[in-house]
């Protein structure tokens, strides 16, 4: 789910060829897991079919392909809705949060506000788990604790990121 939306976000920054798009994705979001060309082009085909991007033939970019992809209003609306919506507060979601925060900064969206919403969603989930712990059996509490510690780790990352937004913004905008 994250890859198509992240590619869309990159296209909101500027129209791009598939080759350049893959290169940018790999450099910023890939982190040792580069996209295959097949995945990039099949994703772009789906986004085109769904009216999120349109193709304009303008000649090659850095790669061999001649097609340039341009985001549509529908595509931009989808990026916006995705960035605003807090991620489901479950453990191990750092990579989605990372993608969202980085894109939000890149697109000059209110990243601090998104992180505040995420913090609220996390704390709400922590409240629910704390209630389970307070009212349930010890074994339920044990499982709740597992979730609580992971959510707390996310929150620490959110705090740290919140305090570094200005510096991060300088790095990802160009």
């Amino acid at each position: 789910m994250t890859v198509p939306l992240t590619l869309l976000g990159l296209l909101e920054r500027e129209p791009s060829h598939g080759y350049d798009l893959k290169r940018d994705y790999d450099a910023i979001f890939g982190r040792g897991k580069p996209l295959s060309f097949g995945q990039v082009y099949s994703t772009l085909a789906r986004l085109t079919r769904d009216g999120k991007v349109v193709v304009s033939e303008v000649g090659p970019g850095d790669g061999p392909d001649r097609k340039q992809y341009v985001i549509t209003d529908a595509g931009a609306t989808e990026v916006d809705a995705w960035l605003v919506q807090p991620v489901e507060p479950e453990p191990h979601l750092q990579t989605v949060l990372f993608a969202k925060v980085t894109l939000a900064l890149m697109l000059e969206r209110p990243a601090a506000e998104y992180l505040d919403r995420q913090r609220a969603a996390h704390l709400q989930r922590m409240r629910e788990l704390t209630e389970v712990k307070r009212s349930g059996a010890l074994v339920d509490g044990l499982l709740a604790d597992h979730g609580l510690f992971h959510l707390e780790a996310d929150l620490r990352w959110i705090e740290l990121t919140s305090s570094r937004l200005d510096a991060l913004a300088k790095e990802v905008r160009r």
Binding site: P86, A120, A121, L129, T130, L148, L151
Partner: protein, 224 residues
């Protein structure tokens, strides 16, 4: 209708602004967590709400009365009669026994000694402190001392309990036991609680939370 509120509160220490227009409202019986990084102004905000510090500007109200407009004597009486406090380090009086420490707010409020100690004693089994009433603070573990401090904060049946990092000096299990007792006791007494903490696991015991950042309050109302 909120029981306690701050509107546009500013306060500087010398040329350093600690609060830059903080707004906050706490309802009767609510447990509110004030979160935020170190140096954000969260403890200063608590001190303003509790009438310990007087803001440079802005309004602090408690039950319809303006704390910011009161003199020191009036604020002091209000703190003694209406507010309870728990700090990061129990701050028990080392010369007194645990029981006497708990009885202290009652004694200061004019309750006779025998009655005050009797009332203080009732808190010991409630907080898992059976048999520890005769000990001095040096003879208590960190968690025990903090529970004694909690009993002292609640014994005079305050309308608001202010807790500043109440688990800050405890390990996580002991800290959670203290929070559990704090929230359960406060709810049983109908006491409003304002707890300052930087720990999400502590904040998760509250009904709601706000974040203080750069001297301003950010509400965290979930958008979902």
């Amino acid at each position: 209708m909120s029981l306690l509120s701050a509107e546009g509160v500013t306060l500087s220490f010398g040329s350093t602004p600690a609060l830059r227009g903080a707004d906050l409202a706490v309802g009767e019986g609510e447990v509110l967590a004030i979160m935020g990084p170190s140096g954000s102004g969260k403890s200063t905000l608590l001190h303003c709400l509790a009438g310990i510090l007087v803001p440079d500007s802005g309004v602090v109200s408690f039950a319809g009365r303006r704390l910011d407009a009161m003199g020191e004597n009036e604020r002091s009486a209000l703190r003694r009669d209406q507010f309870g406090f728990v700090f990061q380090f129990g701050q028990l009086v080392p010369e007194l026994t645990a029981e006497e420490n708990v009885a202290l707010p009652l004694l200061l409020g004019g309750v006779r000694r025998a009655a005050a100690v009797r009332e203080a004693r009732e808190w010991f089994p409630r907080l898992g402190l059976d048999g520890l009433g005769g000990r001095r603070s040096g003879e208590l573990s960190g968690g025990q001392a903090q529970r004694v401090a909690l009993a002292r904060g609640l014994v005079a049946k305050p309308r608001v309990l202010f807790a500043d990092e109440p688990t800050g000096s405890l390990d996580s299990l002991t800290g959670e036991q203290v929070m559990e007792l704090l929230v359960t006791s406060a709810r049983a007494e109908g006491t409003t609680v304002v707890v300052v903490t930087h720990e999400p696991r502590v904040a998760a015991y509250a009904d709601s939370e706000v974040v203080v950042r750069d001297g301003r309050v950010h509400s965290l109302a979930a958008s979902t």
